[in-house]
């Protein structure tokens, strides 16, 4: 086997690829948050719960409606997005003009309720969700066995990420959003229906979390806790990438997957901490994040 400095290169390429897979997952998750937190400036601590909701919705849809994975991939995000829209409309909008801390507190409470309810109904052990037949099996690469579903994660999240990035950065939507959060009254006066735009955008950001939930269901177990653990990591990714930068969130998500993957290889105990280490370094050297515009 090829080695370099005593490191098994085959094993290392495997780790890099696995890191990239996780990274594309992070990218997908942080994308939704990058929109809600980075653009709308709403601290949504329920984003993790929405991700969990997506996974549970896929599970329940299969169990009770017989809806398969592919339909779930379309309908679940819509349903979760609808929850987001209701949440924005009835919980967040009334406090839109208050300190951001309050949205943190509120969404945190909301997440607790959701998580509590699902624990109450389904227990905490996790529920099984099978990989769809079409994506079972895998491909033998020279350095590793790549399960088809993992390959699909890369493809699907890249499509969604790039599509969203294009929509926000290359159409006027992004400018409207940034301006709309900075001075909503003036944007209204320019003829933009800011509240509607914010609601829909929030719904979209939440729907992305739901989408990530469906993507996750077959590989990670569907459990009420799945969202709370990943939440601050995703916040960290958005901040490292630079708030307000969609592309930054995506690229940082990918990069952090790889960084974490390498840490799992060299120093697994630190793998949950390494992202915060990166965050400290980045914020001290580049205050607005890797891709953020300095204020």
């Amino acid at each position: 086997m090829a080695t370099f400095l005593g490191i098994n290169l085959f094993a290392l390429s495997g780790q890099l690829l696995v890191g990239l897979i996780n990274g594309s997952f992070y990218a997908l998750l942080s994308l939704g948050l990058a929109i809600i937190f980075g653009l709308l400036k709403i601290i949504n601590f329920a984003q993790g719960a929405m991700y969990m909701l997506g996974a549970f919705a896929a599970f329940l849809a299969l169990q009770y409606l017989g809806m398969n994975y592919w339909f779930a991939l379309i309908f679940v995000p819509l349903a979760v997005g609808a929850v987001g829209i209701l949440m924005e409309r009835f919980l967040i909008r009334p406090i839109a003009n208050e300190d951001h801390l309050y949205s943190l507190l509120l969404t945190f409470g909301f997440a607790l309720v959701l998580q509590g309810l699902f624990t109450h109904w389904f227990g905490s052990s996790g529920l099984p969700y099978a990989i769809p037949d079409e994506l079972k099996g895998g491909t033998r690469l020279p350095f590793m066995y790549l399960p088809n579903y993992r390959a699909w994660i890369i493809v699907a999240s890249l499509i969604v990420c790039v599509g969203t990035w294009w929509m926000i950065e290359k159409t006027k939507l992004g400018a409207y959003l940034r301006a709309g959060t900075e001075n909503p009254a003036l944007m209204q006066a320019f003829g933009i229906n800011v509240p509607l735009m914010v609601t829909l955008t929030f719904g979209f950001g939440v729907a992305l979390a739901g989408f990530a939930g469906v993507m996750a269901a077959p590989v990670y177990s569907v459990s009420p806790e799945m969202g709370s653990n990943i939440l601050i990591v995703v916040f960290a990714i958005v901040v490292i990438g630079g708030m307000g930068s969609i592309g930054g969130a995506i690229l940082t998500g990918l990069a952090m997957g790889v960084v974490e993957g390498l840490t799992k290889y060299f120093y697994p105990e630190a793998s949950t901490t390494v992202i915060f280490f990166v965050m400290v370094i980045v914020l001290l050297l580049k205050p607005a994040g890797l891709f953020g515009k300095e204020a």
Binding site: A175, A179, N183, L186, Q188, A189, F190, G191, G244, K293
Partner: protein, 236 residues
């Protein structure tokens, strides 16, 4: 007066910020192609009048008819589409956007707005700084940008709040010319100004405000005879 020429009719307009009652029954009308100013001291309620027209105050009652449409119950974003262009006194430049994005930001409300080339020609500073962050512009440049971006939208009723503030005299003159040109094109303009010397020669009429009331209406041709009166109101 033909009613088709009437662009804005305000009757018994009251406006509130939370508990505080700022406007106490304003009445005014503006004809198409007119340039009307709102004069008054600091805090008289001139900016509030403009904001009330755009539905940007806490609460408002009375009637505001724009182009024949009653707008008192209309959400702000629909009012703009009646052809309104609003330039706020705090300028409202977006720091998260660069100059060009700021300029291109407000959606067109009518088709015959000024082109970007025309605008850059009028304000060469903006062209030069077009890639820089909006709020990095100098105070005066921000003022230009705030005005320029509504000229682009094709709005034909302009509400302009203190647009000469912080501008070099040479630019102020140029703005005077621009406003005259816009008037010739048939645009209707409601102008809030401190700089009476700027406003006097270009305005058709002046409203004088005090404590949320309109206390005087002065036509351009009456200016001479009412100078004394204006002096007492404005302390010129």
């Amino acid at each position: 007066m033909s009613s088709t020429g009437e662009k804005v009719r305000i009757s018994d307009l009251h406006a509130f910020y939370g508990e505080s009652h700022i406007l106490h029954g304003i009445d005014m009308t503006i004809q198409q192609g007119e340039l009307v100013t709102l004069l008054g001291r600091n805090g008289a309620g001139r900016s509030t009048t403009l904001k009330a027209i755009m539905n940007m105050v806490g609460r408002r009652t009375g009637s505001i008819v724009i182009n024949g449409n009653e707008t008192i119950d209309m959400p702000a974003h629909r009012i703009a589409h009646l052809g309104m262009g609003f330039c706020p006194e705090e300028r409202g430049i977006f720091s998260s956007l660069n100059v060009e994005e700021n300029l291109m930001l407000p959606p067109s409300v009518r088709s015959d707005g000024m082109s970007v080339e025309e605008i850059y020609e009028m304000f060469p500073n903006l062209y030069e700084r077009r890639m820089s962050q909006g709020t990095r512009l100098s105070g005066g440049e921000q003022q230009m940008l705030a005005l320029a971006r509504i000229l682009r939208t094709g709005a034909n009723i302009l509400l302009l709040d203190e647009i000469t503030e912080g501008l070099a005299p040479v630019i102020v003159q140029k703005l005077g010319e621009v406003l005259m040109k816009l008037k010739e094109r048939g645009l209707t303009i409601l102008l809030v100004e401190q700089n009476f010397r700027f406003a006097a020669p270009i305005a058709d009429r002046h409203y004088v405000m005090e404590h949320g009331h309109i206390v005087e209406e002065v036509h351009a041709h009456e200016l001479k005879e009412k100078t004394e009166l204006l002096n007492t109101y404005l302390g010129v």
